[in-house]
């Protein structure tokens, strides 16, 4: 490589022979706003700024696709470093890169392979950045395996959206995979449904009751859970279990094997141990490729207007043939992020505030930990704080409420505002007693 990255020298003749067939003329389904030719090419290659969140299985694919598609100002955020187990699908990484930040290695690799593309990495959390950072992008693609991070970026982009200012509406393209299953979706703030609307569609992670794990184990999984949930904290006290650490997995495997032997249970293996504690279905290169390509294809169509974009959900399952389904996921009027209406919640008249809080943490459509609650209409005692997790003086002050019945604190039809550090927005609930 000659090291020159100036666009004129880098864009050799016919570099974009393939893509330009699409950009030089409209097709039958192209919107009339499409500006075929130089205008669209100039925007794509010189103006458009795109962010890829995640540089893992999906992120590696996304970065390569974006670079080849002609996006030249690409940013990438990832907080992880490269693990040996990533190499069978995260194709921008080599054994020598193990331990280095994914975002930095991926950016270097793509820039070297696709000359003239600038990839700016950020090794850290998406929450480190504020609205002014996200405001600079035209499109954001998310290739993450974390529900929490997706909720955060989804809520952040909705908070930024100002109907008066079209520039503030940032299309979010979200991809996800699990084994042979994958999905890609396009989220346009204030236009489509959002990530939060579909939260209850996620599969509930498999959990085993503690009493089964402790007293009546039957499956190898029960023995592994015993090792990780009960034995690890008992033996290692405050040391955190790192599911990427082979020594930790090895310890769990040995403990689980011994317990399985004691109960004549067969089937505890190292890979099952890893699978259970990581609570994930392993990702494979092919599904990642399908989903990442689908996300980048939508980004390309949105950036260029060369063809209509996905409205708004594509899912694919590859176990029995290729089955896919494209549909419009509808907005949820009581979505706490995009809906505007408060969520109706039925509450047992007998429930204490503590029982009510517990019920909130169990709900798949909320997914909250340690919520703090206040009421918009002052309670009977004239206070708005129902229960606060922090600071300590508020916690102390509100703790006695936990034992009170909710019906004595909030009237029928009253609203409760829920906040939590795991929740990037305020959740408003309207209470109905049953």
């Amino acid at each position: 490589m000659n090291g020159q990255t100036h666009p004129e020298t880098v864009d050799w003749p016919n570099r974009y022979y393939h893509i330009d067939q699409i950009l030089d003329r409209p097709g039958p389904r192209t919107d009339s706003e499409f500006m075929a030719g130089d205008a669209v090419k100039d925007f794509l290659r010189n103006d458009c700024k795109i962010l890829c969140i995640g540089a893992g299985g999906l992120g590696c694919e996304i970065l390569a696709n974006l670079a080849l598609s002609g996006f030249k100002d690409v940013h990438v955020i990832d907080m992880d470093t490269i693990d040996i187990s990533n190499l069978n699908r995260q194709f921008l990484f080599r054994p020598a890169d193990v331990g280095r930040p994914k975002a930095i290695v991926a950016a270097e690799y793509v820039m070297k392979r696709v000359p003239g593309v600038k990839v700016t990495p950020y090794f850290g959390k998406i929450q480190d950045k504020d609205e002014s950072y996200y405001m600079q992008f035209n499109i954001i693609i998310c290739g993450l395996d974390s529900v929490e991070a997706r909720r955060w970026i989804n809520a952040t982009l909705y908070q930024m959206a100002d109907a008066e200012n079209p520039e503030s509406i940032k299309p979010l393209i979200d991809g996800g995979t699990e084994g042979f299953k994958g999905q890609a979706r396009v989220i346009i703030p204030d236009v489509t449904s959002c990530y939060e609307c579909s939260l209850d569609m996620l599969n509930k992670p498999v959990t085993f009751p503690i009493c089964t794990i402790a007293n009546t184990p039957r499956l190898p999984e029960h023995c592994i859970e015993w090792a990780s949930v009960l034995e690890w904290p008992r033996i290692h006290k405050d040391k955190k279990l790192d599911t990427d650490n082979p020594d930790h997995i090895g310890w769990l495997y040995n403990i689980a094997s011994a317990r399985a032997k004691e109960f004549s249970i067969e089937g505890v293996t190292w890979s099952l141990t890893q699978g259970v504690v990581k609570n994930i279905i392993p990702a494979i290169a092919s599904t990642n490729a399908i989903v990442a390509a689908s996300c980048c294809n939508e980004a390309f169509k949105i950036a260029t207007t060369s063809a209509p974009y996905l409205d708004n959900y594509f899912m694919v399952i590859g176990t029995d043939g290729v089955y896919s389904y494209t549909f419009e996921y509808e907005r949820r009027p009581d979505c706490p992020v995009c809906g505007g209406e408060s969520r109706n919640v039925d509450v047992n008249r007998e429930w204490t505030l503590e029982r009510f809080i517990e019920s909130l943490t169990e709900r798949q459509d909320f997914q909250i930990k340690k919520p703090s609650l206040s009421t918009s209409t002052p309670t009977v005692a004239g206070k708005t704080r129902l229960y606060f997790q922090a600071p300590p003086q508020f916690e102390l002050e509100t703790r006695p409420n936990l034992e009170k019945k909710l019906v004595d604190l909030v009237s029928e039809g009253g609203e409760i505002s829920v906040t939590s550090t795991s929740l990037p927005f305020n959740l408003t609930l309207r209470i109905h007693y049953v």
Binding site: H18, W270, A293, P308
Partner: protein, 520 residues
């Protein structure tokens, strides 16, 4: 330390140096991948995308057959070429070098001959591969290749991939494809309706009244249902038939409950239908018994399909004996129980499964020697067996009845497929400059013959033709990457003989963001 443990701890050590196999297709699937040899014709962006997703999980060997040198166009859209550094170099060699960097356990080779040469001078070279993948091959050459491979009944499967702009399709040519481990999500029968003797004896021996509360709440639901059904049959002479009787039976199960919070009784109540639903041979498995392959003398060649039919023949005999079911599965799903009752029940199922497997083995004909692992795998997955019979490439386009039927079932898929077929014809006759929507339309007419298109299909066809005329030779990076994922995934299914590959055409439209299949 048991042998199992030492094996596993060895895995942990090697894990730091080697790439771990995916647990999604188990060690047997990984072994099949590692011994596979793949030939990919052309080093296009689509081809290298497909290969990337095969090299990462660890195929044994691949060859790229391509005589061309990398052009300005190629280096602009292929991630496995190094920009201007690769310009003018053989693109097969460049791509092989860069693909091999992904996984040093994979062997890659560049063959700079042309396919014409190979077909002329040494066509048997082609049959040395497990699987052949061809992307955007010129039609006359593709026809030659597919005809040659179809003539070899046990030759490699051929995956034909075509793409232009946002539209694409692929077709897998095979005579037949048999799958033992389809990873079916259907649970095998627990035979609660016709319990084997040990299960029956165990279930009726339980005296619920003598159990303490803890024990009572931990009797597995299978045991509850077997006993409840035995009691019902003793009273009524047979299982419940009418809806009202079934409700009555459920009430009798509920009546055995001691406390409101006994989860094992919740399960028994919810699963009660299993007690009266007769366990029979599933219809798709029964259909295998009538397959043509079983009507002929079984071959003694140890091919996958010969072994498959050999075992199916034994299965047919097995199911014609009492209890007229598939061999029992040794896998017992989890259910509310204490450790001892669960392990005891699991042991009963395992022992009976062993007995039935032994009976099954005794029914296998002498023509072929089949190893125990293969038989074990067959019995373990017997409820999900699959047989796919394929057609030669192009047969669908020549079969007007099939076209008409498919067009009404899957209009946009068939319209897009025919548009791509027409594009192949036009590009074979001239250059991309000759491609217009009108020209393509007349080629579609030539394929289908006189034919009245339904309105919606006509609209789909117009869209597809217009899109192909817009970008007849465009290999978009995203289309290539998506095909890379889909085609590699199907290749893995073909090679591992696990999961179920596409039969017919898989059509992709990245404007509408949909995929669909045509059973053609």
């Amino acid at each position: 330390m048991s042998p199992n443990q030492s094996q596993d701890s060895q895995d942990i050590e090697t894990a730091t140096t080697a790439i771990l196999p995916s647990p999604l297709w188990a060690a047997s699937g990984q072994a099949a991948l590692e011994s596979s040899r793949i030939l990919v014709i052309s080093a296009s962006a689509t081809s290298t995308s497909i290969l990337k997703n095969l090299v990462l999980p660890g195929i044994g060997h691949f060859t790229i057959l391509d005589p061309q040198v990398a052009s300005h166009e190629d280096i602009g859209n292929n991630f496995f070429l190094e920009g201007l550094d690769s310009l003018g170099k053989p693109r097969a060699e460049e791509a092989v070098r860069l693909l091999c960097e992904l996984n040093d356990s994979v062997e890659g080779k560049a063959n700079l001959s042309s396919l014409e040469e190979v077909l002329e001078k040494d066509p048997t070279y082609l049959t040395s591969f497990t699987l052949i993948i061809a992307h955007n091959l010129k039609l006359p050459l593709l026809t030659k290749l597919s005809t040659f491979l179809w003539s070899k009944k046990h030759g490699p499967s051929l995956m034909i991939v075509r793409s232009a702009g946002f539209l694409a399709e692929f077709f897998i040519q095979f005579h037949e494809h048999t799958v033992v481990d389809s990873h079916s999500e259907t649970a095998p029968s627990l035979r609660i309706d016709k319990p084997f003797k040990a299960l029956h004896d165990h279930a009726v021996s339980i005296n619920f009244d003598s159990l303490d509360d803890m024990e009572h709440g931990h009797v597995p639901y299978v045991v509850i249902l077997v006993q409840a059904m035995e009691n019902w049959k003793a009273k009524h002479g047979g299982p419940p038939q009418a809806y009202a009787e079934k409700q009555e039976f459920k009430k009798s199960v509920e009546a055995m409950r001691r406390k409101i919070d006994e989860e094992n009784f919740d399960e028994a109540f919810a699963q009660a239908y299993r007690a009266w639903t007769p366990t029979t041979v599933p219809s798709d498995i029964a259909a295998l018994f009538n397959d043509d392959a079983l009507q002929q003398p079984l071959t003694s060649l140890p091919t996958h399909s010969a072994i498959f039919f050999h075992l199916v023949a034994a299965l047919k005999k097995f199911t014609s004996e009492s209890p007229y079911t598939l061999p029992l599965s040794s896998t017992l799903p989890d259910m509310k129980a204490d450790t001892n009752s669960y392990i005891h029940l699991q042991t009963l199922y395992k022992q009976q499964a062993e007995v039935e497997k032994a009976r099954f083995k005794s029914l296998i004909g002498p023509e072929l020697v089949i190893d125990d692992d293969t038989i074990d795998e067959f019995v373990r997955n017997v409820h999900g067996l699959r047989l796919l019979r394929g057609k030669p490439f192009g047969a669908f386009d020549r079969d007007q009845a099939a076209l008409v039927a498919a067009l009404s079932a899957t209009p946009k898929e068939v319209a897009t497929h025919l548009a791509l077929s027409a594009l192949s014809v036009v590009l074979a006759q001239g250059s991309s400059k000759d491609v217009t929507a009108v020209r393509l339309r007349s080629e579609v007419n030539a394929i289908t013959g006189p034919f009245e298109w339904p309105e919606d299909a006509e609209l789909n066809l117009g869209n597809a033709l217009g899109e192909l005329a817009r970008a007849p030779t465009a290999e978009l990076p995203n289309t290539a990457a998506l095909l890379g994922g889909l085609v590699a995934q199907e290749a893995i299914k073909i090679i591992t003989r696990q999961y179920v590959p596409v039969k017919g055409y898989c059509v992709i439209d990245l404007i509408g963001s949909w995929t669909g299949t045509i059973d053609g």
